[in-house]
């Protein structure tokens, strides 16, 4: 059985069982990633973007479970694999780097030992050879003095260097998919730019497909071929980055774009924060989940939830734009 895409999610549903009830953290998400492509997933905290990534990796927290849908990667259905088979895929075919490089490295082991570990686990390489490989990788990701650095512990690295080390770790086995979950959120702005540059270079040089999860629309604009916007565990808009940014077809995307300051904006145009608060995942409103905060809402929005349908160039989950209205006020 061959799939046409590198990665394909079909209607994935992931639930988190909490003390107060069950949250549908990922609610019917379908998406595809092709080889060499960069896909952005944006949304605010709790929108389900990280949970989508962890569902792909099957690294959900104890309370989490994939209850529906399937994840296909190359010619395998990841959601059907045993834990052992999944361990073979993690760190070889799919690598993941995380938001906070300060806490994502183990404080009691040397960085070279940690970066070389996938080679020891998957390629049965010896310690010395894996650390030699780590030296090469450190060089590739721009860590100066790699020979000295591999012998150091994470606390001797700055945040940016740690994220470089994390990326190096992800690259050890040349995976075909790299999932980067908010890779720059915890870093200074100047370091952010360097890390994004690095990710872009690696994507170009190695052809590694990348899923870039972020809440920063600027990052998406500079990095991603396509973008998915998530809200309350659902995809609300999906399309080519240029299209989505030029003509958002979901009011949430529209609001996000209008809430960021722009240097090229009219001098007196005020920023427009999104009204209201992020949704209570335990107690979602009926109909469209964004409707209580939506400046465009009509009567139908509160009654019935829209499907994710083609609206001009992209997909959007909105009654208003599906009816032909353009969001440009």
């Amino acid at each position: 059985m061959a799939f046409s895409h590198l990665l394909e999610l079909e209607n994935v549903e992931t639930h988190l069982r909490l003390r107060d009830g069950t949250i549908k953290a990922v609610d019917g998400v379908s998406l595809t990633v092709d080889a060499g492509e960069t896909l952005g997933i944006v949304g605010e905290s709790g929108s389900g973007k990280s949970m989508t990534a962890l569902s792909i990796m099957r690294l959900l927290p104890r309370s989490g479970r994939i209850v529906g849908g399937k994840v296909c990667f190359k010619d395998r259905v990841l959601t059907d694999l045993s834990e052992d088979e999944m361990e073979e895929i993690r760190g070889t075919e799919i690598a993941m780097i995380f938001q906070d490089p300060m806490t994502s490295l183990n404080p009691v082991f040397r960085t070279g030992w940690q970066v070389g570990e996938p080679l020891r686990i998957h390629r049965h390489m010896r310690s010395r050879a894996s650390i030699a490989a780590a030296v090469d990788l450190f060089e590739k990701v721009g860590i100066p003095e790699p020979r000295r650095r591999v012998k150091q512990f994470p606390h001797m690295f700055s945040g940016g260097m740690r994220q470089r080390a994390m990326i190096a770790m992800g690259l050890t086995t040349s995976p075909s998919l790299l999932i980067a979950d908010e890779p720059t959120t915890a870093l200074d702005v100047t370091i952010q730019a360097q890390i994004l540059d690095l990710l872009r270079t690696l994507n170009r040089d190695y052809g590694t497909a990348t899923i870039l999860i972020t809440h920063n629309l600027g990052v998406v604009a500079g990095m991603c071929d396509r973008v998915i916007v998530m809200y309350a565990g659902r995809i609300v808009e999906q399309g080519r980055t240029d299209d989505v940014f030029a003509h958002p077809e979901h009011p949430y995307t529209w609001s996000l774009l209008h809430s960021i300051p722009r240097l090229d904006a009219d001098e007196h145009r005020p920023l427009r924060p999104i009204e209201g608060v992020p949704p209570d995942m335990l107690n979602l409103p009926p109909g469209c989940k964004f409707q209580p905060r939506c400046p465009f809402a009509v009567a139908r929005c509160a009654a019935q939830e829209p499907e994710l349908l083609q609206v001009r160039e992209q997909l959007a989950r909105c009654w208003v734009t599906q009816a032909g209205t353009r969001l440009d006020g």
């Binding site: 690294l59 760190g91 690598a95 404080p107 009691v108 570990e117 686990i121």
Partner: protein, 313 residues
Amino acid sequence: MSYILRRLVLMLPVAFLVTVGVFMLIHLSPGDPALIILGEDRNPEAIAQVHQELGLDKPLYAQYLIWVGHIIHGDWGRSITTHEPVWNAITDRLPATLELGIAALLWSLVVAIPLGTIAAVRRGSAADRIATGVSVAGVSVPNFFIGIVLIYVLSVSARIFPFGGYVPITQDPWESLRHVILPAIALGTAGTAINMRFTRSSMIEVLNHDYIRTARAKGASWRRVVFVHALKNALIPVVTIVGLQIGGIIEGAVVTETVFTWPGVGRLAVESIFNRDYTVVQGVVLLAAFSYMLANLAVDLVYGWLDPRISYA
């Protein structure tokens, strides 16, 4: 190396306070050693003469300084009852206590660390609840009672283990092991329970860290994640408590050695207290205090090995 040196220097004030404490403790406690030495023949002149021989007529600070001077030179005084040098009395008994203490410590760690880890990984499961229940029992039951039960069940009834006594390991390693098992279990069980609880809670905390998820994302198996990535981190707080237990072995041995007729330093302490043999009591208490200090030093060194963030520069 310079770190060890600095730690040793920092131990000096502690050592001073410890020696003052030990010295005062004995001198403030009631009972005149002269009366014991003299027995029935106690006229004032004889008492005064004994006081003079023992230096008891001098002011306290002078007695202290003389005593400390002797301690530093390895002269821990002579037993009042047997006239044997205290140092010899202690070193004769020390191997037995060391064997018991090491065996008890091994028992507590070998059981506690795997059980605590399993309880943490499977928290909320039946295994976790059983381990928790057993550990609460282990802390609650006093070690002499555990000792008596072990003797009754395994020595007297089942005749699997010998009933008390000590065989030096240099003389017959196998017999020595057979003799040490029951007292080691009695002495080590409270520690086992505490170490298990520490390992469990520490492991639960560590398993929630981001770097555990990183290790999983690399494709490391659960076993590797738990026993390689998590355990080294989780042991850091456990080492603290184990350090205190090492220091406390001598005091724990007082009871256990009595129950198991184990000829160690603990029993020496009990015997000398009953005999008001205050020079020997002083020696044992001092040894116990020094072993606490050494255990703390050892803990600090192990920290450095476990946690590279602790800098000894």
